[in-house]
Amino acid sequence: MSDPKAGAKTYTYYPGCSSQASAIHLDKSLRAVAPKLGIALEEIEDWNCCGASVGHVEGGALPQTALSGRNLAKARQQGSHDVLTACAACYLNTHGVNEKIKQDVRTRARVNQALGAADLKYDGDLNVRHACEVLVNDVGLERIKGQVVNPLKGLKVAGYVGCQTVRPFAATQSGGEYDTYDQPEFLDNFAEACGAEAVAYDPKTSCCGGSVSVHSPDKTLHLIKQIVEAAVEAGADVIATPCPLCQQNVEMYQDAINKKFGTSFNLPVVFYSQLMAVAFGMDAKADAALDANMIAPVKLVELAKKAAG
């Protein structure tokens, strides 16, 4: 067998906090499929939290910015590879801070002054990229298709992209201009490359309520209801998403929605990388992490079994 690393491109990987708990299945499946797609991931040594969408309120703006500053300084110590992250919030913060450090002299000076307290520095000479953008621009659909040994035949997928994976950077130059803000196509393309059927699905970039859903679901359950409802109406077997918070909100609140609105939703919500792991004929648990979904993606599990059997 040829060296699996041959032709691979190295990225410095920032997994983020959700990779160790609520979105363990994104991290696991991404690490599993990456080598097959020519992606070598080198984790940032001793990374810290990005501050998510709420850190600034208590911590303040500069401390919030300094969180990403430290991660970037650590990444730079490991080399000048592009930084890759798969989490929407991590990407929003890390990419956003990186661009600010590049463009704004005052921010660069203030962040470096703070980093100096731990003898670190960062000049803004890295690129921070979303995993999906890397899959679109560096890997390409053909290479994804080329790895499929277990096409997800008959699986109907509603591609739910959410907000921060595409907004506000997907159509910018620094964001790799990889898709649009309102009608992104990459997720449907991933699903179809895996042999599944991407159903017509309108609320692609509707909002799940983000962290407001985490602490005040009363305000946002109706938003999640629309996201699930449209997928059910489209006849989807699963919702696929790239975003950890979308995955969690849309999955864990279905019971609460059923209670509040009298619906009977029980629709699995998986990551695109879990689809890929199954389509690449990899292990249902060890690679695709299908046991980490609260609502079992039954059809996907069956497809994985068929390949293994």
């Binding site: 906090c17 959700s18 001793d46 911590g59 309520g209 602490h215 005040s216 946002t220 019971d255």
Partner: protein
């Protein structure tokens, strides 16, 4: 960021509702605040907002209120707390106003000036920041528990029980970390960085130039 004009601080509420100094202060000290002057009141932001129905004013009106110097009303508005950061408004605004960043920055100001004691977001943020600053990482269990019990013991227990089924399913799915919190090895380094960043901001707020 220097302190917001004292003439319209929380303490002197009622005495004065319109403080034109507030608009100038926002232009100069709130991140992206100078762009508030660019807003042409088209309403694209509020019209694109997924959670607009839960907002008292919405971004368009809030920006008008800033320009009118309505400090009290702005900093007590739930618009700054209900924003989910979906960035619909930002990518659609014809004047390139960084709506989300402005709302975020106003949220930080509102907390610093004591305007938001009963809001959920600051309570949640407090719990969140405690985990981040202590361990360098978010421990979702710890944050959730601290947040629930920030509402008092009784309410904390009620919320914990209400969410127990979800917690149990997360544990079963292997998605709730059990055991000691994950931590960054360099958590002490990180604390030094954060402390320095706070110092810099404090000095700037006091009007002095940080060393």
């Amino acid at each position: 960021m220097s302190a917001a004009p004292a003439a319209a601080s929380a303490a002197s509420a009622g005495r004065r509702q319109y403080d034109l100094g507030f608009a100038r202060w926002v232009y100069q000290h709130v991140e992206g605040g100078d762009k508030v002057a660019m807003c042409m009141q088209c309403g694209m932001c509020s019209g694109s907002c997924p959670i607009g129905t839960a907002m008292d004013h919405g971004p368009r009106k809030l920006f008008m209120m800033i320009r009118a110097g309505m400090k009290e009303a702005v900093l007590t508005s739930n618009t700054i707390w209900n924003c989910t950061q979906c960035y619909n408004c930002v990518v659609r605004c014809p004047r390139k106003v960084p709506v989300t960043a402005i709302l975020q920055s106003l949220a930080t100001v509102a907390v610093k000036e004591g305007y938001a004691p009963t809001q959920s977001t600051p309570k949640f943020s407090k719990a969140f920041w405690l985990s981040v600053a202590r361990f360098g990482r978010t421990d979702e269990r710890l944050v959730t528990a601290l947040y629930y019990f920030s509402h008092g013991l009784k309410e904390g227990i009620r919320r914990a029980l209400e969410n127990l089924p979800i917690a149990l399913r997360m544990i079963k799915a292997g998605r709730m970390h059990l055991g000691l919190p994950h931590r960054a090895k360099g958590a002490a380094d990180l604390r030094a960085i954060l402390a320095k960043a706070e110092d810099i901001e404090r000095a700037e707020r006091a009007g002095g130039k940080p060393s």
